[in-house]
Amino acid sequence: MKVSKNELMASLKKAFEGLGFQPGDYHNAADMVVWLETHGFDGFSRLEAALDYLNTTAPIHADLVQEDAHNSVLDGKGTSILLCGSEAIDLIRTHVTPGFSAGLELINCYNRTFIIQQLVKAAQRNYAFVAYWRQLDYCVKVSITEGAELPEYETFTVTEVLEPQSLRVFCGADLEIIKRQYAGHLEFGTLIETYSTSEMLACYQASVEHGIEIDEALWQTLDDLVARILVESTESSRAGAGD
């Protein structure tokens, strides 16, 4: 079946609320899923994977375990980027100062691809980002220039020993400053694949024109989660909106 972006967003927000997310969190999480799906990053399959975890525990946020002037480490404690991604990006932005970039490592977290939407969102505030993580036997690198609306997405062979569930993010006023100051952290193996911005844009435009294809079972799953925040209707409650 096909749904519109707006109704998908509305459904996701309520579904995440049904999972116990707080208002800021369910907005952010819905934004991440919708952005990935509408830009060709398999947002729905990643959501299904996340729901397996989110359905079994109360929402958990990351802890700040290490911090200096420009670098920090967050422990995700096994949570999803859907819950801690925005906090991580908000935090790293505060470590950027004139002429200096910032680095952040988020360990022990899942569903890392969702971070892309948070990078895109923060890029609109004139920050540049490079982020990478290990996915199976390859490395995913995402970079975006300040003010850009779409990122560069590339995969490389793995050259560095990366924690399986960690994510590294570098942020600065522009990409050149980041690359200069964090050159030692930004060495990648052989390029495997790129996913171009034109492909992302085409995917997005198709979703606006024709709607978004979603598996009916997943839509039903979302409906079931939404049902958690609904209140049983009674004769007396009907009066709460009418006569």
Binding site: K5, D25, D90, H210, L230
Partner: protein, 540 residues
């Protein structure tokens, strides 16, 4: 509504029925094809028999007299079949991204049969009877913005310039309903009495609008779209400031005379409103009395006023000091209406993206200052009083209808919707203040790391701090909260009139009453229908 009508008239939109397949009872299918300025659209309408006992204006209804869809392009047989299988079901059906708006309507029990019978008997309906209601049908919902599989607002905004302003497509759907309602009345009269029936007089047609029932469901939208509401009010305030500035060197007597005529028109309009709501009646009465004072002032002082510098500034200041808020706002409206050439351009600036974002670098002390400055109204509320948290908002299992529950009496408090902005600000303020005293010198990102539950309200506060109007400065969970005020605010921007509160939770009103007809498109625009009054028929 008036923005849309101005365009349709000036751009001479061509509207014709490509399908008009009604039986002798008026049930069946109608498709109108619309050639607008930039594109072609189809308005598909299904007319059904409805047992009067099942006629219900609430969201929870599942049957209606009419159901409609506004579609892009033309509609072929296959799509028409698809729409026939889904549009009558409304929320229980699904449509696709070729549909821009989905709507439904119910007949007025008081006027529809009366008008058809009068026409069938060969004479025009009594205008006084029409005036009591104002319409033949009333719409109970006009869904757009991607609901139920429809086109997203982003698609409408970027692809369909004819409807690229907030709610323009929804308003058009109501306008077409009005057109159909009168065409159907003419059609049924002719069916019943082919030899004696007459068509509705064009002046009466112009006076017939569309009814609207709006309930609690609109309130969460208003609360959750503060940037949009801010934009609307800011444009109105900018328009008012522009016309006040235009009176810098005085105004000509013709302009003063137009204001006087418009004032008398509003007085008559208010006198023709029929409502059983005592509060509304009293408000209308007071408004009429104060506008009468304005009329006398204009009559007596007109010549002197014309040469006064900033006469409109003096008038609005006088109104603020001496007259009630409703009178002040009507005067503001009348002044804005005097200068279409100065203000009509603002209608292109009514849209804005609703995005609330955290500014993580902001020092916590600055956020505290912002709350104390911009949300002083929220901090002034004593939430320890029971009545300050006397109600809660929730979504019902029944069609997810938003409802109000009484705290500690009704079920569902634990599933409360996050709409109590004032209380959320208060809680956030208390938390951030104690955090600041304990930690000091920290920024918002660190506060959120420690207190993630507040990220939503912090994003709202930081975003809205850059605007003036979007937040509703009231306790929305007070035991005596009057949600109809929220509904009236949004409906006013649509241009509706004749508010008829049916309870504190829902309100009936009238749309497009007095507006030009489709037959007026392409002719000189008469744009004075914002306060419709009874027509005086030229001939009977």
């Amino acid at each position: 509504m008036r923005t849309l009508v101005r365009r349709m008239v000036v751009e001479n939109w061509q509207i014709s029925s490509s399908v008009f397949d009604l039986d002798e009872q008026g049930y069946g299918t109608v498709v109108y094809q619309i050639e607008a300025n930039y594109g072609t659209f189809s308005y598909v309408l299904f007319s059904h028999y409805l047992d009067p006992e099942n006629r219900n204006d609430r969201v929870i209804a599942d049957q209606w007299d009419l159901t409609m869809a506004l579609c892009e392009g033309t509609v072929d047989t296959e799509q028409l079949d698809f729409l026939r299988n889904n549009v009558p079901k409304q929320e229980a059906g699904r449509v696709d991204s070729r549909v821009l708006v989905l709507s439904r309507a119910n007949r007025s029990a008081r006027t529809f049969e009366y008008v058809v019978n009068e026409l069938a008997n060969g004479h025009q309906p009594n205008v006084d009877v029409i005036a009591e209601v104002g319409y033949l049908y009333r719409t109970t919902a006009a869904y757009g913005s991607g609901k139920l599989g429809m086109a997203d607002w982003e698609k409408v905004r970027t692809k369909h310039r004819d409807f690229a302003r907030p709610f323009a497509a929804e308003m058009f759907t109501c306008y077409m309903l009005r057109h159909f309602s009168m065409q159907q009345a003419d059609y049924l009269a002719a069916q019943r009495a082919p030899n004696s029936a007459v068509f509705l007089h064009e002046d009466i047609k112009r006076y017939i609008g569309i009814g609207n029932s709006t309930g609690l469901g609109m309130a969460p939208f208003l609360i959750n779209h503060p940037l949009l509401i801010n934009q609307w009010i800011e444009m109105r305030e900018t328009a008012l400031a522009t016309v006040v500035a235009a009176s810098e060197s005085g105004v000509d007597e013709a302009t003063l005379a137009r204001l006087d005529v418009a004032t008398q028109r509003v007085i008559q309009h208010l006198g023709e409103i029929v409502t059983a709501d005592e509060r509304q009646n009293n408000a209308n009465l007071l408004l009429r009395e104060e506008l009468q004072l304005l009329h006398l002032w204009l009559e007596e002082q007109g010549a002197v006023l014309a040469s006064n510098q900033y006469v409109w500034s003096s008038l609005t200041q006088y109104a603020e000091q001496h007259w009630h808020i409703e009178t002040q706002e009507v005067i503001n409206t009348l002044l804005i209406e005097l200068y279409p050439e100065l203000v009509d351009g603002f209608e292109e600036q009514m849209g804005v993206e609703e995005s609330h974002q955290i500014t993580p670098e902001m020092p916590v002390a600055d956020l505290i200052e912002i709350i104390e400055d911009k949300y002083e109204w929220a901090l002034a509320i004593d939430f320890s009083k029971h009545e300050s948290m006397g109600v809660f908002w929730y979504r019902s299992q029944e069609k997810m209808e938003p409802r109000l529950g009484q705290t500690n009496i009704d079920m569902g408090m634990e599933k409360e919707m996050s709409l109590a902005v004032g209380r959320l600000v208060r809680e956030c303020y208390d938390q951030i203040d104690s955090y600041n005293q304990a930690r000091g010198q920290q920024n918002v990102a660190h506060f959120i790391m420690q207190n993630p539950a507040y990220s939503g309200i912090v994003a709202r506060i930081q975003t809205m701090a850059q605007s003036h109007y979007g937040d509703i400065r009231e306790n929305l969970v007070h035991a005596d909260v009057l949600p109809i005020h929220l509904l009236r605010c949004k409906l006013s921007f649509f241009g509706v009139s004749k508010f008829d509160p049916r309870s504190r939770l829902w309100v009936r009103n009238t749309m497009f009453q007095g507006a030009p007809l489709i037959s007026d498109f392409g002719k000189p625009l008469v744009d004075d229908w914002q306060f419709p009054i009874k027509p005086v028929l030229a001939s009977r």
